[in-house]
Amino acid sequence: MKRLGLWAMALLLGLLVAVPVFAQEIKVGVPLAMTGPYTDTGDNYWKGIKMAIDEINEAGGLLKKKLVPVRFDTQEFAPERVMQGADYLCGQEKVMSVHAGWAGWGQDIRAYGKYDAPFFADDGSQAAVDVFKENPADFANIFQLTDTGINQAASMFRVLMALPYEYPNKKVVIIHADDAWGQEVGDTLEKNFKEKGWEVALKEKVPYGTREWGPILTTIRKINPAIIHVEIVSAQEVITFFRQFMKAPTSSILSYGYSIVPREVVETMGKEADGLIGEVPTAMPTPKAPTPEAQAWVDKFEKIYGHRPQAGSWAAYSGVKAWAAAVAAVGDETKLKEVNQYIATQGYKGETGMWKWDAEHVMRAGGDVPIGHYQVQDGEMVTIYTDPPTKPYLDFKFIKPRWIK
């Protein structure tokens, strides 16, 4: 009897898969990491996507139809998983667009390129762009919301060189994660520094999950570099690094690149993080937005979620809005090719200005959508530069970190 009961439970678990169906609706695919180490990044995108969908539905829907998100858990972007997601969302559920955030480094392009529904990603990967270039006609539905890692790294370098600060020496230490993103950024930075006559005294690739930095810090203290760049997009690695660094800090600018973006970094450390610098591509500058519309968006986001927008939220939001604008213009959400054509040629008018995708369907940094460079000041991220072109943002200033003597 007991066994039967347990069996009944197992069966019940299996039946947890009823999906309700409405008459007038448009399905929107949302494949994000909902489990595993990238869950927090996935959350960032979801906040932006949800905000856009709610906004559209509150305003009476898209072409008077209700937008319904269909979620899929991409876990850790294993190629097979990504492909399954594409088959599920585009093949089975027949969604009219897909909003994926960080979704891989090329496997996502192949998986979704097979279908025609517009696919918005935030890969930041040259490898993904290379896949696109193999067959631009087939992959016409792919839209990258951010520039590549190579361009982002170049931008980080330009801003580091532009800081109103005199470096005591020309030595740099680069620490990056052993994933495709970390490798791309690490290699580009190394190249840039070397070209400028800097000495890359240490370039270290570290696995995710590294939380004991003693051995590396010992070496760093011996080198005493002018810049330490850390590129690991995960909070606990960069926080532990900072705390252990601060035990006996060297006079180095601590540059975190995209590692600054997990919300947990500033949320966990607060004012302790003051002085750190980093970047966000396709960024909504804060605390003061560049336009009144943008300011309104930031205020609304803060009202809903209780904190400043995170990296990715705005990009993902804009992806949904760009697609919705195209559908409204075409007048039929099922004319996928026309919608893609519209997005590629017409772009989208967003809160900060015009979004224009280039021939490779990448939202290149610059113009109205530059890369934002931040410094943590008073426990919050403050935009101090935008790039390209490299220029200080409004009257926010770089402050020399407290640990530099």
Binding site: G36, G214, T218, Q236
Partner: protein, 288 residues
């Protein structure tokens, strides 16, 4: 002078590894149970500390110890009695226990994620500041971790050698049938050791959490390290695990310093495989 830094780092890590590896080896030595959820028990310790401290009640970490140790003890005991013990009557139960605890790990990690969120949780430091002796700087935090884990280990050794329960645990480890014959309630001892090991790894979680934070999936790293150390030292050998923990702590620190952090894992497994090739039972192992 860097060498001293590296040695200190190795010693501090070694002391915590020792605490956790001894727990794993104890359970295996006594009851042949290999606990795949060991890493999740580590996280449980961290989350317990986080929850207790978030009430901002009197006493800080002292209160944490007072409340968490009995809670961990009870949790370990209940888990053993409720889900591990019933498997013993089946054939090839050792594999089934591994499968079961693997499922438990998955369940616990995701419960943590749902309850506390995917983000890391930070805990306040135990002691602020650091001690400077010439060029060497050690934070009081690290010293506290070292002192607490070493004293935890001594306390454990004392219990093992000076109490009836400790003696009974050793008896079951050496000869489960013999233990039963002299009237030792074997099943209760199995559960008791499981509970003790839960406390040890949970303490490790509490001690390390303010240094390394608490996050839902962190336990795997701990499990693998504790596992490598126990196998290196000899499964079931407590003294072996102790030595192995310090050797591995040092190895990790030196390899990381001299060759880079990516090589640490290769080095740990390399040393383990080489040891097992020469001495299949580990450093001082008994056969299990």
């Amino acid at each position: 002078m860097e060498v001293i830094d590296v040695i200190i780092s190795g010693m501090i890590n070694g002391s915590v590894y020792a605490l956790m590896a001894v727990g794993l080896t104890l359970v295996y030595g006594v009851s042949k149970v290999f606990n795949f959820a060991y890493g999740s028990f580590y996280s449980l310790g961290g989350y317990l500390a986080f929850s207790i401290l978030s009430f901002k009640i009197f006493g800080g970490y002292v209160t944490v110890l007072v409340l968490a140790v009995p809670a961990l003890l009870l949790f370990g005991y209940v888990v053993e009695r409720a889900i591990v013990a019933p498997l013993r009557r089946w054939s090839s139960w050792e594999v089934k226990v591994m499968m079961l605890t693997l499922g438990l790990a998955l369940l616990m990690d995701n419960l943590f994620q749902i309850t506390y969120g995917a983000r890391v949780k930070s805990l306040p430091v135990i002691v602020e500041g650091s001690l400077t002796v010439g060029p060497v700087i050690v934070s009081w935090q690290d010293i506290a971790i070292f002192v607490l884990s070493v004293s935890g280990m001594f306390a454990f050794r004392w219990v093992l050698n000076n109490t009836w329960v400790g003696l009974a645990v050793q008896a079951v480890a050496q000869n489960p049938n013999g233990a039963q014959i002299v009237g030792i309630p074997r099943d209760k001892i199995f559960a008791a050791t499981f509970a003790i090991s839960t406390v040890m790894v949970g303490l490790g979680g509490i001690l390390l959490s303010q240094k390394y934070f608490v996050s839902p999936n962190q336990g795997w790293d701990i499990l693998v390290k504790a596992w490598v150390i126990t196998a290196f030292g000899g499964m079931g050998s407590i003294r072996g695990s102790l030595y192995a923990a310090f050797i591995m702590g040092m190895l990790e620190a030196f390899v990381g310093w001299m060759f880079g952090l990516t090589w640490v894992q290769f080095a740990l497994f390399g040393v383990l495989l080489a040891t097992l090739a020469i001495r299949p039972q580990g450093l001082m192992g008994k056969w299990g």
